[in-house]
């Protein structure tokens, strides 16, 4: 199912939950909506599933405007989709009763083999007679997913399905979602605030903030070329520095940073922490950006240490291996030199 949103807004009182959202999801595509809590992800999913109405704008399913649908026609259109809520609600009764529910309300008898196949594909075999309300959070979410896919929806809407699940259970569920999408080929729109969900599952990513689309595009493109400071910061980029450009020179505080591409006026650059090299002596290298700095803090990580530095009044982070930190014998207050290539500096749009 192809999904299009055209200038969709939802306003409740003085609160603008969605603001002029336009986006497209192609048939069979896995699209992830990412953004911080309260940015409008759930509202958007609820509007697509016709649980809520937009204040303005249109939603198209396979090119057909949904806004004219009312009553039973609306229910029948909704039956082409399924939605998994953030907090899975289990109906009273057994796991099997829950899984069959979508087919029961459609008046379809799935037969025991269909139920058994869904139970097997979602890793719930042997649990069909257990009371659904007694399951763990992860198991409930599996039941919710099984219950949503048994009707073979053309569009599957997932509202932060991994949010209410223990950390240890998430890879399992993530791979279940990936496999179901691959095997069933339905269009998936999934809301999450976990970047790893977007990276590992989706081919398309839409970044939302305060109800507005900040960036939409192929997932790789969004993560490698964030459009603006918000997206860069949200996807975890560090060293986002406000600068004033003069050709390939970006000035900030007491620093003059050479960039690979020229910029103009005021803007932002970002320097990936892993491209910054540390040395005790001024490095004799071809790298065009070399600055004397002071270490202000070192935070140990599992593989790399995050070294916080102050260079010309600008705070920066460098990601250095533990061995390098120990070899250099630096700590808070140490004076060091940092260097990085001009081509490593990204200019944010």
């Amino acid at each position: 199912m192809r999904l299009s949103l055209l200038s969709v807004s939802r306003v409740i009182g003085a609160k603008r939950l969605l603001s002029d959202v336009s986006m497209e999801v192609a048939d069979g595509e896995f699209c992830v909506l990412i953004g911080p809590t309260g940015c409008g992800k759930t509202t958007l999913l609820r509007i697509v599933d016709m649980l809520d109405r937009p204040t303005s704008g249109q939603v198209f399913l396979d090119g057909e405007d949904c806004s004219g649908y009312r009553g039973r026609a609306r229910t029948f259109l909704r039956r082409r989709m399924s939605m998994v809520m953030q907090r899975p609600f289990m109906l009273s009764g057994t796991v099997e009763k829950n899984i069959r529910f979508g087919l029961d309300v459609r008046g379809q008898d799935p037969g025991t083999d269909v139920v058994a196949r869904v139970l097997a594909s979602t890793g719930l075999e042997g649990m069909e007679q257990r009371l659904a309300k007694t399951l763990s959070g992860g198991e409930m979410q599996k039941v919710a997913i099984a219950r949503a896919v048994i009707t073979q929806p053309e569009l599957l809407l997932l509202d932060e399905p991994l949010n209410s699940v223990d950390q240890g259970f998430r890879p399992d569920l993530r791979s279940l979602i990936r496999r179901l999408h691959r095997e069933m080929g339905m269009t998936v729109l999934m809301a999450t605030h976990d970047l790893s969900d977007a990276l590992s599952l989706s081919s398309r990513t839409v970044v939302l903030s305060d109800g507005a689309v900040m960036q939409a595009g192929e997932t790789g493109e969004v993560f490698s070329n964030p459009a603006g400071v918000f997206v860069a910061s949200f996807i975890g980029m560090k060293n986002i520095i406000p600068v004033e450009f003069s050709g390939t020179t970006a000035r900030s505080g007491g620093l003059e940073i050479i960039t690979g591409e020229p910029g103009s006026g005021k803007g932002y650059i970002t320097i990936p922490p892993e491209v910054i090299a540390l040395s005790l002596e001024r490095p004799d290298s071809s790298q065009r950006n070399t600055f004397q700095s002071v270490v202000t803090d070192i935070e140990h990580g599992p593989m790399h240490d995050d070294v916080t530095l102050l260079s010309g009044g600008v705070a920066m982070h460098a990601s250095i291996t533990r061995e390098s930190v120990e070899r250099l014998r630096v700590g808070a207050g140490s004076s060091v030199w940092i260097s990085f290539k001009a081509t490593s500096v990204r200019i944010l749009a």
Binding site: S82, M83, M85, L91, S92, G102, L131, R147
Partner: protein, 230 residues
């Protein structure tokens, strides 16, 4: 004190020997209360669903008004139904006054707010996610109402039992529209009331014990249904 003890012993004897008068009043009371509760449940559970699932202006005020009617004086309910059913009233031609049907009508009127209000509260007690989940899985309006009602079944059952409890313990309305006619409209509460007035203490105590046991049974059922969650 001796008189009271004797009356108490006589009352127990009437219960254990299934005194025909006591049994007749008890069965009539049960039939009236059960009928009025069943009718009220059939009429007002769908209405409660309609009010719960429909968003309209003044819905909050309406629910507040319904809840305010929980404490409607039974005599007032009796008076209203009396006026409606009396010879000159709008339904006077039906000649229902001083029949058990009139008591049933009065009790339905009396327990309607209790059942309506408590069923709405029971539906409200089901997590909002339930309604959204069921709708998102493709259920139509009636199917959603059915599922949410089923999820709230223990609270709904408690509402029905409380309605029954109010009906069985009611005296004012039954007296006014039923007339407390021996062998025809006399109920446990009206019989106790009359019995004390006429000095028939033993019969009143026997009927009082039965009424108390029925009220306790209802309370116990409400408590037990309240304990059920899954």
């Amino acid at each position: 004190m001796t008189e009271l003890a004797e009356a108490f012993a006589l009352a127990l004897k009437m219960i254990f020997t299934a005194d025909p008068v006591v049994m007749e009043i008890t069965l009539r009371t049960l039939a009236i209360s059960a009928s009025s509760t069943i009718i009220a449940c059939i009429l007002f559970t769908p209405l409660a669903c309609l009010i719960h699932f429909t968003k309209f202006r003044g819905r909050g005020a309406l629910i507040g008004f319904i809840q305010a009617l929980y404490s409607m004086p039974t005599v007032l309910a009796g008076l209203l139904i009396f006026l409606v059913l009396s010879r000159t009233g709008p339904l006077g031609s039906l000649r229902l006054l001083f029949t058990t049907k009139a008591i049933v009508i009065a009790e339905v009127f009396l327990i309607a707010p209790v059942i309506l209000g408590l069923v709405i509260s029971a539906l409200k007690g089901v997590a909002g996610e339930a309604t959204d989940t069921v709708r998102a899985l493709g259920a139509g309006r009636l199917q959603v109402a059915g599922v949410v009602l089923f999820e709230a079944r223990f609270a709904v059952l408690s509402a029905f039992l409380l309605g029954f409890g109010r009906a069985i313990s009611e005296v004012g309305a039954a007296m006014m529209v039923g007339g407390n006619i021996a062998g025809r409209t006399r109920t446990l509460t009206t019989a106790i009331s009359l019995g004390i007035g006429m000095g028939e203490v033993a019969e009143s105590i026997a009927l009082g014990i039965i009424l108390m046991m029925l009220a306790l049974a209802v309370s116990l059922l409400v408590h037990l249904t309240g304990l059920r969650r899954i």
